[in-house]
């Protein structure tokens, strides 16, 4: 039963993220848009580029989808509504999303096209920037919860959400998460304007559908992780827990998708500079501050 509910939640969540994504790009809210686009992709030819590395080409999009789905397995929707409450959930979330890089490099390499390959490399550069900033804010979150379990992390925020307790961590995690989900302005690997679609460029038909689905799940996963780590997960008055989770996750996804559109695309070199010169010192300061708070202010 839990499985069915979670699957439905996932399907609805991914669809909603796809609607939001189209809204952020075209400024039109078309509830039918993603369905039409998906059907249309299904109807199109599946082109296998000449000289492609077949294995990488086929595995890339699937791996992206699988990695993103795995990371969602440790996200609680409500008390008891979680695919698997691992004791090391917060760590597992990182581990699962490490495959995003592998998937993108494979998908970029596979078709033997310049755009895809450069897109893959760029994501590698991006990863070196954001990777530490995913882990370090989570460290501060788990310090407060004194547990790596995502359920414990939500419960630890019962009296005060982490967004107030450690706002600096939220900001850093939000940027890193956006870079990890390669949403604008960190969408270099799949940039239309300067890479003609990049990693996505050579995918058509059903393969492209899988790739796009994987990307939507990834965005959903990052948004729900922010909900769990900083916005108190299912906690909230009046409404049932799952509703709070859904509202918070979609709200965060909408802010991520729309907010990123305000900035010009950011090169991976700039991102590296920001992350390592500014982000990591701040993340260390955040860990230090939270450490003091945990000792001094028992909330």
């Amino acid at each position: 039963m839990t499985g069915i509910i979670l699957f439905l939640a996932l399907a609805i969540g991914v669809y909603a993220v796809a609607v939001l994504e189209e809204w952020a790009t075209t400024n039109r809210l078309r509830p039918a848009g993603p369905a039409l686009a998906a059907l249309s992709l299904l109807g199109r030819e599946n082109i296998l580029p000449r000289k492609s590395d077949r294995l990488f080409f086929e595995v890339g999009p699937v791996l992206l989808l699988v990695g993103a789905l795995l990371s969602l397995a440790v996200i609680p929707l409500a008390p008891g509504l979680i695919a698997t409450d691992l004791a090391t959930g917060a760590l597992f979330f990182n581990a699962a999303l490490a495959y995003v890089l592998v998937a993108l490099i494979m998908a970029g390499w596979g078709p033997d096209g310049a755009y895809g390959m450069i897109g893959g490399w760029r994501f590698l550069g991006q990863l070196i920037g954001y990777a530490m900033l995913v882990v370090m804010p989570i460290t501060a979150v788990t310090m407060r919860a004194e547990s790596l379990s995502t359920v414990d992390i939500v419960i630890s925020q019962a009296r005060l959400w982490n967004v107030v307790y450690q706002p600096l961590g939220l900001v850093l995690f939000a940027f890193a998460g956006m870079a990890m989900a390669f949403v604008p302005p960190f969408d270099l690997p799949v940039a239309a304007g300067d890479l003609a679609g990049g990693v996505e460029a050579e995918y058509t038909g059903a393969r492209r559908l899988v790739f796009r689905l994987g990307r939507m799940v990834l965005i959903l996963s990052v948004a729900s992780a922010m909900t769990v780590f900083y916005f108190g997960g299912w906690l909230g008055p009046w409404l049932p827990g799952w509703a709070w989770s859904a509202i918070k996750t979609l709200g965060i996804a909408a802010m991520m998708l729309a907010g990123g559109r305000m900035l010009p695309r950011i090169r991976e070199a700039t991102l590296l500079t920001w992350c390592w010169k500014l982000g990591i010192p701040l993340a260390l300061a955040n860990i230090f501050l939270v450490g003091i708070l945990v000792l001094v202010v028992p909330l």
Binding site: T25, A114, I118, P184, L188, G193, E202, R208, R261, A269
Partner: protein, 809 residues
């Protein structure tokens, strides 16, 4: 002709297919030929017509042709069409001739209404005919290739049919080549990376190949087989008309026998090597030495074994001694020949970390203990590299040697502080020399920080280290390639000459400015690349994601209206406007002014003001199209949407209409200026040098940010001009009769100053010379893109706002 997707008539799947067809009819993604900017210039609103622009052909299902299209553009479009997944359709607006493309599925005039009706026709087609039992193939002629067969060992053996090599009997392997003039694989996504080496490969056609025993170099054979001495399989060895012995030549010019492992061991008689005990092998004793040998090869491309420098070949392959893949060596004067040469004669070794440490024998660096690596002597490669890079500049980035400045500052690529470089002819050695003469202590990180006393660096706090005090001493140790180092006696033994050295292995391969070797790829950007002007072709040679070289071209190009002979002035004005779809009014005005100057007539003052207002209106519209493209390229959809909406309405609006929109337009400009990080991002790219041939809007700031601000300022100024005028008057010629004469005019087009000289002969335009801004600016593409990161290079290119119709094809 509708490019439906093949599917059998299945009753089970039919409803699903109908559903898919209907969905597809409502999800049309369009690839615009020549480009979305041209669509905007023609006043076509794709989104309002229900089309969504696609980033590349793979994403598109509609190919929108905006005519008229030249042959080259149609060829490129046919490649894009072939790359589009089926079902796919062609929508032609104002296009008469489409070949080699199949006939369009929907046709209409070049207008928004035409587009709207054509799109609804297409929707019907997609809804009902997405799948068809029978489909037609489309082969783009430009993509056609043929298969030829070649021997893996003898590249000169090429055949149209499979078979075996007449030389060695091996099976010929298939290889794909262009069928004809498929040189410009202009279109897009499937652009296969082409290694620059592969060009070389084709060159070095060997003469007769020989086979040689890997252990017994004296055993050679014209045919494959095994060694009579040891039974090992003979390996192919390339040589120019002789046996493998030739290779060993130069090491021992006057000697007869040499050790296969220790080329420095030479003897006049057979025997065994005193170092390793191997049997000495005969070496040639005639005049021909390895230097000669390699010289001959160097002209085309030579390859050498990284472990056995004496093994050279003029084609790629593997070393007959150790089986390692041969690496290319420098094809220029120096490199390979001298190099192989240098093993025993005047060879120099240098520390990879301390270029001033040189020795004429192998050994390790007294400073850091690293093993010395061989360098080519005097005229050779490595020395020259260091040389050329730092010659005239005063400051250089420690990470990006190509970044040089006359003044101190920081590197635009990595932000590191530039360090002073020797500005005289000297190389790295000179550099150290110059400092050492005066200073006693120097910062290990900041060579420009010197002091007479010990202390710490004011920049990084590191303790200063003693520098070579004595000027002459510094000179001796400097990296002069070590040719006058014969007196050096500190010679540790035991290093194989030609051990695995990165310097050697990568010598002669294309070298990035950062010194790292990567495979270079050539990738086309354009003619339908989103974010670049449609019709502009850009082929970038990429080293990783750094641009090494940029070739710009156009598939549309400047058309001379007078190519068929003299024209009546009115026809000339009309044709020059038609030939410039991105700025027709400016060029019509230019032609009118030049003809009026030639005929000695003048329009009334009223009409002159009206014309200026028309020019101002076009400038606003054109700058907005550019802003749309910039928004598309940088991922700023809000600016993109707003700018394109204004561009569409303003191009044909009258004065009151424009004034009504002016406040909103000014808000857009303010919002663009205030976009976070936009100006900072653009300020890092596209910096023009002071003497650049720039005729566009004047800017104080020579970067792309300056050009953005200047164009936004032009929009504001032009709004003011329209406010000041009483009406907008399109340029038109008054009758000039039979006037003859010469006229000169210039007009500030949206992209810069354009100049036209016309000669009238009995009332007809007989001669005209047109000078367009883009023809100047296209020369700036190289300096603005080379050695920049790809995204920066593309932004820099876009900031030039090139008009492909203004460039000579």
């Amino acid at each position: 002709m509708f490019g439906a997707r093949e599917a059998s008539d299945s009753i089970v799947l039919a409803p699903l297919r109908r559903l898919i067809g209907r969905a597809m009819a409502r999800d049309l993604r369009v690839l615009v030929v020549p480009g979305p900017d041209v669509a905007l210039a023609h006043g076509l609103d794709l989104v309002a017509a229900g089309l969504r622009p696609a980033a590349n052909p793979r994403e598109a299902n509609v190919l929108l042709l905006i005519g008229p299209l030249g042959t080259q553009l149609r060829d490129a479009a046919s490649i894009a069409y072939a790359q589009m997944p089926r079902p796919r359709a062609i929508l032609a607006l104002g296009v008469s001739e489409v070949g080699p493309l199949p006939a369009p599925d929907a046709n209409a005039g070049l207008s928004q209404d035409g587009l709207r009706t054509a799109v609804s026709d297409l929707r019907g087609l997609f809804a009902n005919g997405t799948f068809a039992p029978m489909t037609e193939e489309f082969q783009a002629p430009a993509l056609q290739s043929r298969i030829e067969y070649t021997c893996p060992m003898h590249p000169e053996v090429v055949s149209d049919e499979p078979g075996s090599c007449p030389k060695c009997g091996m099976f010929l392997v298939p290889r794909e080549t262009d069928a004809g003039s498929a040189h410009d694989h202009a279109a897009m996504a499937s652009a296969m990376p082409v290694t620059s080496e592969s060009h070389h490969h084709a060159h070095g056609q060997p003469a007769p190949a020989a086979y040689v025993c890997p252990m017994h170099p004296e055993v050679t054979s014209d045919e494959p087989g095994s060694c009579p001495k040891c039974g090992m399989t003979l390996v192919p060895a390339a040589s120019d008309g002789g046996d493998a012995g030739h290779h060993a030549h130069g090491q021992t010019a006057p000697a007869a026998y040499t050790c296969p492992m220790h080329p420095e061991v030479i003897s006049d008689e057979p025997g065994s090597c005193p170092k390793c005990g191997m049997t000495l092998v005969p070496a040639a004793s005639d005049e021909g030495d390895a230097g000669h040998h390699a010289h001959g090869q160097a002209a085309s491309a030579a390859y050498a074994c990284p472990m056995h420098p004496e093994v050279t070949s003029d084609e790629p392959g593997s070393c007959p001694k150790c089986g390692m893949t041969l690496v290319p060596v420098a094809p220029d004067e120096g490199g390979a020949g001298h190099h192989a040469h240098g093993q025993t004669a005047p060879a120099a070794y240098v520390c990879p970390m301390h270029p001033e440490v040189t020795s004429d024998e192998p050994g390790s660096c007294p400073k850091c203990g690293m093993t010395l690596v061989p360098v080519a002597p005097d005229e050779g490669g490595a020395g020259h590299h260091a040389h050329g890079q730092t010659a005239p500049a005063a400051y250089v980035c420690p990470m990006h040697p190509e970044v040089t400045r006359d003044e101190p500052g920081s590197c635009p690529k990595c932000g590191m502080t530039l360090v002073s470089a020797a500005s005289d002819e000297g190389d790295a050695g000179h550099h150290a020399h110059g400092q050492a003469a005066s200073a006693a202590y120097v910062c290990p990180m900041h060579p420009e920080v010197t002091s007479d006393e010990p202390g710490s660096c004011p920049k990084c706090g590191m303790t200063l280290v003693p520098a070579e005090l004595d000027g002459d001493g510094g000179h001796d140790q400097s990296a002069h390639g070590g040719h006058d180092q014969h007196d050096s006696d500190v010679l540790p033994e035991g290093i194989e000459p030609g051990f695995m050295s990165m310097v050697e292995m990568t010598e002669g391969t294309p070298r990035s400015s950062d010194g790292l070797q990567m495979e270079w790829i050539k990738a086309p950007f354009g003619p339908f690349f989103p974010g670049l002007p449609g019709g502009l072709t850009l082929v970038l040679t990429l080293d990783g994601d750094t641009v090494v070289a940029a070739e710009t071209g156009t598939l549309v190009g400047l058309a001379d209206p007078l190519r068929h002979g003299p024209l009546a002035p009115d026809d000339y004005v009309a044709q020059i406007g038609a030939g410039m779809p991105l700025a027709p009014v400016s060029y019509q005005l230019l032609a009118c002014r030049a003809i009026e100057a030639a005929a000695g007539t003048a329009p009334g003052e009223e009409s002159e003001h009206g014309r200026d207002a028309a020019l101002a209106r076009e400038r606003i519209a054109s700058n907005l199209v550019w802003l749309t493209q910039l928004g598309r390229q940088l991922g700023l959809p809000r600016i993109q949407r707003a700018a394109s909406a204004f561009a569409l309405t303003i191009r044909h609006a009258d004065r009151p209409g424009i004034l009504q929109q002016a406040p909103d337009l000014r808000r857009l400009i303010d919002r663009t200026r205030a976009t976070p990080f936009l100006i900072r991002r653009l300020a890092q790219v596209g910096e023009l040098s002071a003497d650049a041939d720039w005729v566009g809007p004047a800017t104080a700031d020579p970067t792309a940010a300056g050009r953005l601000v200047a164009r936004l300022g032009e929009i504001t100024d032009s709004l003011g001009e329209i406010e000041a005028a009483t009406a907008i008057v399109l340029p038109a010629l008054a009758p000039i009769g039979d006037a003859s004469g010469h006229g000169h005019a210039s007009v500030g087009t949206p992209r810069g100053i354009a100049i036209l000289d016309v000669t009238l002969d009995a009332g007809k335009v007989a001669q005209a010379t047109l000078d367009t801004p883009s023809s100047h600016h296209v020369g700036l593409v190289g300096p603005l893109t080379e050695q920049r990161e790809l995204a920066d290079a593309l932004v820099a290119l876009a900031s030039l706002d090139l008009d492909p119709w203004e460039i000579d094809a």
